[in-house]
């Protein structure tokens, strides 16, 4: 389907490859910053990953001024305010987020407060509230999945009001995303698998959704190819730095794709399942992906069929008749999931999670209908449709 109009935007500098971390001091200097604060969580610090970042500052003539390492898995305005105070008290002038989705969103919130010189984060919630560039902000992802290093949104819980506050602004985009294979080298197999399937889903939904455009398509296809070619390699040889870097790049490319094309029903269902049953996002993505593609197949078979090339390679693509490529692409994804289940017990169905009861299906479907991503699904979805997909995923 050709779009009559599209927009594409990604001003984030990608700093990727071996010794990428050592580029951070120079990159900070180019933005007239020299007193960075690192924001991270206990898990990242415990794994020794902050040592790599600190090591990169040795011999650079620049020091990390402050480290906050207690970002919780579900961050809040309280934590953001606390970190902003620390930033000000220490005289920092820039932020380096080292971690996954929660650390990155928290850091975006901190950057709003310290740049706008505010204390009430709720005042900046919404679309387009920010009107000027924020402080220099770098992101060093420690998982290869969320793509948050290239997205312009942050979601932060407000415990006082009991709501999740959305923040959307081009000014939330980091100045640079630093992809260094050292940062994902020790990621356990099941997290590697989950996060890779999260990135895979970003790319697949960006490519098959209503918001697809030629530029995001290019990123999506490359991301799918990299994940297909390198995920099993990483699981076979976890310390393969080149393959790890490929996955990290794929995650960022998928992030660029979906932040410009949005996502669809896999995310609507996945957000609901994650919220209701407290399951990790990547697991939910892996679980629903083939069922949603099957739901969309009748109307989007041609587009889904194009995914067979990056998923299975040129030979398989060439010998599969065009009319069968959509089904073959879905089957290839199923094979990847079967292999991940065999290796890491990554659930392929709601029943395999062991944490969902059948009587929750109605509620899950209702929640999915209110998720913003559902509007970008190429095929209309009503309550009965959502229930039907969930039943198939049972």
């Amino acid at each position: 389907m050709t779009k009559s109009y599209y927009e594409f935007f990604c001003p984030v500098k990608i700093v990727a490859g071996n010794a990428a971390l050592e580029h951070i001091p120079h990159e900070l200097l180019t933005l007239a910053a020299s007193r960075p604060m690192i924001i991270t969580d206990k898990g990242v610090r415990g794994a020794g990953l902050i040592d790599h970042v600190l090591g990169a500052f040795a011999e650079s003539g620049m020091d990390v001024v402050e480290i906050y390492d207690d970002v919780p898995p579900d961050s809040s305005t309280t934590v953001v305010t606390q970190i902003a105070k620390l930033y000000r008290d220490s005289g920092c002038d820039s932020i380096i987020a080292v971690g996954g989705g929660s650390v990155i969103d928290t850091s975006k919130g901190v950057n709003i407060l310290v740049s706008e010189d505010g204390d009430d984060l709720t005042a900046f919630s919404g679309v387009g509230v920010l009107t000027k560039p924020l402080k220099p902000f770098f992101v060093v992802p420690t998982t290869a999945g969320t793509g948050s290093e290239v997205t312009l949104v942050a979601v932060i819980a407000d415990p006082e009001q009991g709501v999740k506050l959305p923040f959307t602004s081009y000014f939330l985009l980091p100045n640079a995303a630093v992809l260094d294979p050292r940062m994902t080298l020790t990621l356990p197999a099941h997290i590697t698998a989950m996060t890779a399937m999260d990135a895979m889903t970003h790319a697949v939904e960006a490519f098959t959704g209503m918001g697809k455009n030629p530029i995001s398509d290019a990123y999506a296809v490359s991301a799918i190819k990299k994940i297909s070619e390198n995920l099993m390699q990483v699981l076979n040889t976890p310390d393969d730095a080149d393959a790890r870097l490929e996955l990290a790049q794929a995650s960022t490319m998928a992030g660029i794709a979906f932040s410009n094309s949005m996502v669809g029903l896999v995310h609507s269902l996945g957000h609901s399942l994650g919220a209701l049953c407290h399951l990790p996002h990547g697991l939910c993505m892996n679980l629903f992906l083939p069922y949603v593609l099957e739901y969309n197949l009748a109307e989007r078979g041609d587009v889904i069929g194009e995914l067979l090339l990056p998923l299975a390679g040129a030979e398989v693509y060439a010998r599969t008749p065009p009319a069968e490529r959509g089904r073959a692409a879905i089957n290839t994804l199923r094979e990847i999931r079967d292999e991940l289940y065999r290796r890491c017990k990554l659930p392929r169905s709601l029943s395999e999670t062991g944490k969902v009861s059948r009587d929750q299906i109605q509620k899950l479907a209702e929640m999915a209908l209110d998720d913003g991503s559902i509007i970008f699904n190429p095929v209309e979805v009503d309550l009965d449709d959502a229930i039907s997909v969930l039943e198939k995923a049972w």
């Binding site: 109009y5 949005m262 209908l369 559902i374 190429p378």
Partner: protein
Amino acid sequence: MKQLPQLNLGDFNIGSLNIGSLKRPYVALMMDVIGRGLEAASQVDSTIQREVQKLPDGFMFDMRALPSGPSLVMEKTADGNLSYIGSEAPRKPDMSLKFKHLNHAFLVVSFQEGTARALANDRILLDGEVAHAMKLVRCLNRMESLILPKFVAVRALKRYPQLSLKQKLSDGGKIYSRLAKNLVWG
């Protein structure tokens, strides 16, 4: 070789006509019609009523073309219906659908582009609770499917719903009669 123009009403694109000066009054009129139509539909159609029921009482939303309108403002009343307030909001609405340009609003209110497609084409800014926005988009879609001829509605909707002739005539007729009454009597 010069191609002869073909008359194909199915592909007829009013957006390509030079009707610039008419767009603003047309969008203003259609905003008014949509506002009154939604109000009427929320009193008549059980599907829309179920959606509206889930919105908080007093919930106010607007739909406007940037930078200065036209616009429509609606509120959920205590009796569970949607009430059309007019073109100006008495306070900051809880949710806002903002078309980036008058032309983008024109595409949607002339049913050349559905709300979902307009969102996917980055023509609309959504400010507010997304879950509420999804409910309202479903209300809009439902109203369009009830009051518009199928050949028009299919251009604006991803999927035309299964509607019996009775539903279409009965609910659609009731909405039209309330809409006409509203337009005449204010």
